[in-house]
């Protein structure tokens, strides 16, 4: 049916020319009246009688016009515009109220929108790949060894690919850094080492050129490389002729076959990857391809359409079973764990983000309560206006609609200001975000986030408008109209205001407790000693190209020379090498056995693992890690001498209780030689090498000379500036080999800082929200009490006139404040306890129900509330009884 469309169109037209319609109709009615009058005159009436009869016959003039207008127009929209116009007028008339309300709301909505934009980008928005729901990670797990998540060997990966029927494709991916020597100074590039299926699996289209083909992954294929758009533009001037030419990675030529768009994020890695090469071409990882025990590859799979996770898991379990039967030495005990890719990428950030979103939601709730309170105050002074409207025939619904239009306009104004604030807030947030936060999707205020903000402001507008509107519409017209100057406030309304103020206190308490707990936990975290001296330590990473430095002998030769050169510089004597260095992204964990006690695999006990660090002799001295007993490494410990190790205190206490570990032997090592015998020659203090928040794990140190790596992390203790230290190291490295880059020069204190970026981020934000909540709640209390005082001026005057002392008045008002506050605290406390339980996993050294935090927060809140109530109380105290009595 088109009829209603035509109707709508014709009605909408009228919106723009209402006067014309009215005039036309008046003409028609006029003619009609004239004709009727003529007819009546014909019948013999006097002209006056005829006119009167005609009027009656036609019907009420005004009513007819109203009906006509309604039929022509869109009455709902018209009254809406009328309401909006009126609302804007009312808001203009009260600039103070409007400013406070809009500002409060803007803060609330702005903060919510900003946090939501992060939550949306990280948690809600699907990963930027084709059909992201089908993407899963497949990790290997081993319950007996206590390993929840690790990669799978390349040989197993091939079996998985060949045997499964549930994934349309599987791909493996690891990353490290290679040295690029083309297009400028030698530099280290973030390199993803992938099986050739990855890009096809993720459905990535290259900007130019092609992605890897299955042939590129075969043994003996020519080395090829995919280059990121950023690297291509930044280093190669976006020259399309780079395709087909070769670039040198670790001084080996790779042919460039394609450019990967800058928007592509390699799953698992928060850092931007710059080049991608096939696994078979990688100098390090390709050597481990034939090792079935080498847990090399994290695997991504794309489920076939229609296959459920349960089916896939069942299939992978069956394959694991077959592999364990076929290769028991490497595969028994190992299972496969499937996790949705998005969940895996987001990891434990989820809880923190949701807590922040909840917290910022509470702030908005408090803001709404505040505005509702302001509106209630205003509604009281407007009850006369509303009574007049009611008397003139406005229905209850009509009045509620008008008041709600006002608050909706207020909500939208606040929302608009909030969105502006959010744009700025997102920018500020982006600089604060910890780099470890996964950002597969860009964090910004996009349409979805805008929609959220608008919805939020609309809901807020209705939420804080509904209560006052209901009260206003229920008002007793008679009494409102009768009261001349003082308009009475109903008991219910006063109760509603007190309820709102107390509610604000409760909500603020929840936020303050959460912030207090995080703050205490963070300060505890920061006061934890990492176990080594962080001051004046600078570290620099150097990685050796695999093809030139393929022999361990070369690695030691390089590091010996480097260390000798650095140490000969004045001010840099205290230098050492450690791989991996403390607070690194990477850590090496190895299983070990104690010679003379039954091996773990035989006894069936949980496996023993230890962290592993290879160091040069001066390391403990440079880092100020104390030697507890035995000796340090020295010149004796070289490749040809017996293997020795120094263990940490925790390692000693856990594995050698009530014994002297010195002289005992333990076996550990990298595959393919996992059982190398090491004699314990020393015990050193514990180090929190992973993060400050985690207890020190058992550690073994080995001499670099006996266990060299293909790179070196140099740590230098120096009072010189970090940049001059870096310059010297760079200089010395280039003197040995001009093609070697030095990367990641950093001060140790900065590294420690970076390692606590996430807790700092959430503590800062939650603290900010808690302060906002505190201020808002204090304003709320202040508003309620000062309004109550101003309404009771008369009563107070009488009291003073009858002999009440100023102290009595002060106490009376303060009592009102404290009753509100304590009611709020009483309700808020259990909520705060329940809320803080959500934080459990984010706390360090503080329990979720920490009584000290609760007490301090409650006292602070009560004190602030009392202060907010004291200001109006003082005003009440100073009331002049004469003025107050005349106040009428």
């Amino acid at each position: 049916m088109f009829a209603w469309i035509r109707t709508l169109a014709s009605r909408t037209r009228t919106l723009f020319s209402p006067r014309q319609v009215d005039q036309d109709f008046e003409h028609e009615l006029e003619t009609h009246l004239d004709l009727l009058t003529d007819e009546n005159v014909h019948r013999g009436m006097t002209p006056e009688e005829a006119r009167r009869a005609a009027r009656i016959r036609l019907g009420g003039n005004t009513q007819l016009k109203d009906t006509n207008r309604e039929l022509h127009g869109l009455p709902f929209i018209e009254t809406f515009f009328q309401d909006v116009r009126f609302a804007l007028r009312m808001l203009r008339k009260n600039p103070g109220f409007t400013a406070v309300a809009v500002l409060t709301l803007a803060l609330g909505i702005g903060a919510n929108t900003a946090i939501f934009s992060v939550v949306y980008a990280v948690l809600l928005k699907p990963l930027p790949f084709t059909n992201p729901d089908q993407l899963f990670t497949a990790f290997q797990a081993n319950k007996q060894q206590g390993i929840a998540e690790t990669g799978c060997s390349y040989l197993n990966f091939e079996e998985w690919r060949a045997q499964n029927h549930v994934f349309s494709e599987l791909a493996g991916i690891v990353a490290h850094q290679l040295t690029l020597t083309d297009g400028g100074d030698p530099t280290v590039v973030n390199t993803s080492v992938v099986t050739s299926e990855l890009f096809a699996l993720l459905d990535v289209k290259p900007l130019v050129g092609r992605i890897f083909s299955p042939q590129d992954g075969k043994q003996g294929a020519p080395p090829v490389v995919l280059v990121s758009e950023d690297l291509w533009r930044g280093r190669f001037g976006a020259d399309p002729r780079i395709l087909g030419t070769s670039i040198n990675l670790d001084q080996r030529p790779f042919t460039v076959i394609g450019i990967i768009p800058g928007a592509f994020h390699t799953p698992f890695f928060t850092t931007k990857q710059e080049v991608w090469i096939p696994l078979v071409q990688d100098p390090v990882f390709s050597t481990r391809m034939p090792q079935r025990a080498s847990h090399l590859l994290p695997v991504i799979g794309r489920l076939k359409p229609g296959v459920s996770v349960a089916q896939a898991q069942a299939e992978m379990d069956a394959i694991s079973g077959r592999l364990a039967a076929e290769f028991p030495a490497e595969n028994s005990g190992w299972t496969v764990r499937l996790v949705p890719l998005q969940k895996e990428i987001v990891g434990d950030v989820r809880t923190a983000l949701l807590v922040l979103l909840g917290a910022v939601g509470l702030v908005l709730l408090i803001a709404c309560a505040n505005i509702a309170n302001l509106l209630l105050t205003r509604a009281t002074s407007r009850s006369k206006e509303i009574a007049v409207r009611t008397a003139l025939g406005a229905g209850r619904a009509r009045i509620i609609r008008q008041l709600l239009s006002e608050t909706a306009v207020l909500g939208l104004l606040g929302g608009a200001a909030g969105i502006a604030l959010a744009y700025w807030g997102v920018k500020a947030l982006s600089s604060l975000l910890p780099s470890s936060l996964p950002q597969m999707n860009p964090i910004r205020v996009d349409y979805f986030v805008l929609g959220f903000a608008l919805l939020l402001s609309a809901i807020a507008g209705v939420a804080f408008g509904l209560v006052p509107a209901m009260f206003a519409a229920n008002a007793d017209i008679q009494s409102s109209l009768r009261e001349s100057v003082r308009v009475g406030e109903s008991r219910n309304r006063r109760r509603a205001r007190s309820f709102l103020a107390a509610g604000e206190i409760s909500l603020a308490l929840v936020l303050l407790v959460a912030a207090g707990l995080l703050l205490r936990s963070f300060s505890k975290l920061m006061s934890v000693s990492p176990g080594f001296d962080v001051q004046h330590i600078v570290k620099a990473d150097i990685s050796l190209p695999q093809f030139q430095y393929s022999e361990p002998r070369q690695w030691t030769a390089f590091s010996d020379e480097l260390l000798a050169r650095i140490q000969s510089d004045p001010g840099l004597q205290d230098s050492a090498i450690a791989v991996p260095r403390p607070i690194a992204d990477l850590r090496v964990t190895l299983p070990f056995d104690i010679v003379g006690s039954p091996p773990v695999s035989a006894s069936g006990a949980a496996s023993r693992t230890t962290s592993y660090v290879s160091i040069s002799p001066g390391y403990f001295h440079v880092m100020s890690i104390p030697l507890l007993s035995g000796r340090l490494f020295d010149q004796r410990d070289i490749m040809s001498s017996p293997r020795v190790t120094i263990i940490s205190k925790t390692m000693a206490q856990r594995n050698f209780p009530n014994q002297d570990p010195l002289g005992k032997q333990i076996t550990f090592g990298f595959p393919p030689a996992p059982g190398v015998m090491h004699e314990i020659v020393g015990i050193v203090g514990d180090v929190r090498d992973d993060s400050l928040g985690q207890d020190p794990r058992p550690m073994v140190y080995v001499p670099y000379a006996q266990a060299p790596f293909w790179g070196a992390n140099v740590v230098v203790k120096s009072t010189l500036s970090p940049s001059s230290v870096a310059a010297t190291i760079r200089q010395e490295v280039q003197k040995i080999d001009k093609d070697l880059p030095v990367t990641d020069v950093a001060k140790m204190p900065d590294l420690i800082d970076a390692s606590v970026a996430q807790p700092r981020f959430r503590t800062f934000l939650l603290g900010l929200f808690a302060v906002m909540a505190l201020v808002l709640a204090a304003t709320g209390i202040f508003g309620v009490i000062s309004y109550s005082v101003s309404r009771r001026t008369n009563e107070i005057g009488i009291r003073v006139a009858l002999g009440a002392s100023r102290g009595t008045i002060l106490r009376m008002v303060l009592r009102e404040t404290l009753v509100l506050t304590f009611a709020g605290l009483a309700v808020g406390l259990p909520c705060a306890l329940a809320g803080s339980r959500l934080l459990r996993n984010m706390l360090f050294g503080v329990s979720a129900g920490d009584p000290a935090t609760l007490a301090i927060v409650a006292i602070t809140l009560a004190a602030v509330a009392a202060l907010a109530g004291y200001v109006p109380a003082r005003r009440a105290m100073l009331v002049d009884p004469m003025v107050a009595l005349r106040h009428e």
Binding site: H27, R57, Q63
Partner: protein, 114 residues
């Protein structure tokens, strides 16, 4: 509000206006009102103003059109005439009206007998 009145009455008046315009040709509001009253032999004495609500509705549906002209005694008046779609609508409505009234008549007769 027009919605407050019963739909049947509204529809009936609309139908009568359409029929009047289809038999009489262009007429102004007064003419239509008079004509309906005459045909119904003054049994249907409507509040003549209500005719205008019907006219607006019919205009909006596109079943009639209006144009300003001059009445016999030289007054400016708006003359309404039925449109093509209006005629189609009229025959459809008339048929359904007849059907409904037949059915209702039959039901009433049955009720009397029963």
């Amino acid at each position: 509000m027009p919605a407050d009145k019963s739909e049947i009455l509204q529809g009936t008046l609309d139908l009568m206006v359409l029929k009047t315009l289809s038999t009489m040709g262009p007429l102004h509001g007064y003419g239509i009102a008079r004509r309906i009253e005459q045909i119904s032999e003054e049994a249907l004495r409507i509040n003549q103003g209500t005719i205008y609500a019907a006219l607006v509705r019919l205009m909006q549906k596109g079943w009639i059109s209006g144009a300003w002209g001059t009445s016999n005694n030289n007054r400016k008046a708006k003359f309404y005439s039925i449109t093509k779609t209006g005629r189609k609508q009229l025959s459809a409505e008339a048929r359904s009206w007849e059907r409904v009234s037949t059915v209702i008549g039959r039901v009433l007769r049955i009720a009397e007998r029963g």
